[in-house]
Homo-oligomer: 296 residues x 2
Amino acid sequence: MEFRQLACFVAVAEELHFGRAADRLCMTQPPLSRQIQLLEHTLGVSLFDRNSRHVHLTAAGRRFLQDARQLLAHAERAAQMARRTSEGEAGSMSLGFTAVGAYRLMPALLVRAREVLPDVDIQLREMVSAGLGDLLIAGELDTILTRQLPRTPGLQHHLIEREPLVLALTPNSPLAHYDAVPLSALHRQPFLLYGPNESRYFYERILGAFGLADVTPQIVQLAGQTHTLLALVRAGLGVGIVPDSARELRLEGVIFRPLAQENMHADIYLAWRSQHDNPALTAFLTRVANVPQAAA
Amino acid sequence: MEFRQLACFVAVAEELHFGRAADRLCMTQPPLSRQIQLLEHTLGVSLFDRNSRHVHLTAAGRRFLQDARQLLAHAERAAQMARRTSEGEAGSMSLGFTAVGAYRLMPALLVRAREVLPDVDIQLREMVSAGLGDLLIAGELDTILTRQLPRTPGLQHHLIEREPLVLALTPNSPLAHYDAVPLSALHRQPFLLYGPNESRYFYERILGAFGLADVTPQIVQLAGQTHTLLALVRAGLGVGIVPDSARELRLEGVIFRPLAQENMHADIYLAWRSQHDNPALTAFLTRVANVPQAAA
DNA sequence: TTTCCTTACGCCTATCGTAAGCATA
DNA sequence: TATGCTTACGATAGGCGTAAGGAAA
């Protein structure tokens, strides 16, 4: 069975006239008759009752007409879908992110992807920072949103958001009177810090800033994740430095103040394998994440 | 795009090795490579990333593999369905019947058809006797269950059921004492008869029998359909002669007695056009209705 | 006699297989 | 150096078009 024969069959079935069908197919009647005969032979079935005066479909022909049309349409769709997939217009990709990235950045990317690449299916996967890098390197994720870039060759990254670090505190804290809090105001104050295992980036970033400023807060507790840390702030154990997106948690009893210090910010990167082979990812990088030169 | 190319593509995609795929397809590597290239060219897309060492699918190739498999499977199913349709194993047919035929015969036929021809869809249509014949002749019904054969050339029929005629009466009727009621017992008795328009067959059949037996009942009312007639019997207006299948109506307050008369029966025929072109009908006639020689 | 599907026949394109080319580990 | 995909080339098979055949109104 050949697609050509299906097209011939559909034309004859619609015209119910070999001559007109041949015209439509831009060929002469004899080879058209022959194609129909060949198709009937391979099927082992008569598709038309015909003589030199009348042509009409048999029951098998009526049934096969439906399938022939579907097959031709499906073939056309399949070809188009292959083309669109190769251009990244359709397909699927996976995006890993951490809890923090989830609040503002990931939803924004997703909304934009839906708009720009509606036929690209994005599988989301949330997990802790360390796991993200491993899955990316192993090829189980196409791209990740992370603060902590894996130190592995073969990865590319793009700074996608730089958000300020802010001080989280309770409304009745004396520090609440500052418009912008200087780090020095935290010297020997009860302070809540991210843990070095679960959130190494913030741990190092914040301790580094204190070191440069020669300020030593009184670290009363380590917390793995932002929502844990804010809960402890609200409980009155101390203040903490968190990324601005922590506001999205909308935790009552916790307020935020900018830091007076310059360069107090947290970065979020989009990272992917240089040698990925997913056109949907390329399209996502260039057209959704606005990465320049996101070639594989 | 050709089915051959789809088969080649699926083989290579499954083996990820041109040599083994060629073996599976019973051909040599070079023409297989060429077919894949042709397919890629018509699609305008690379389906494999390959060099002399490794072969693996591109994103477009993975996507197209699904479609290729579906297309091949659909083509196979379509061919098989065409064959089965031509043999009457699959397809559809329409069956017309009257209210009377509905109680016992039609359900029995339908149950048997489900068993013997599960993939034949039977469209049921219930209407009055006269309309059935017209629709059959017009080709809008494939076959009908009828007592009254249309007197039209080009139809074939088969006696499918011969049911006895029985007397319908109330339990307190004096005639209830008979095991089998002789027609003579109905002489000058109040009698309910089918109407000549709606039920000509019974009208003529019953009056004919009375004529032969030289019995003249007192006809108190004409009734078009069996359930109407039985309702009048229950109301005490008289007795009536109905086909045995009227028992299926299970009307309380009405009982039935056989008639002593020989040859008191009503026939039901299956009728169809001699020159129909529906293999499903042929299969139904021969394998469900047990019609001998039911050729078109 | 006309219409129109089918058969017959020659030409041409396309596929296959064999043989050689060439890149990679 | 061996494996394995690709290119080159000649033989064959299949499709198309022209021309003739044949059945139905």
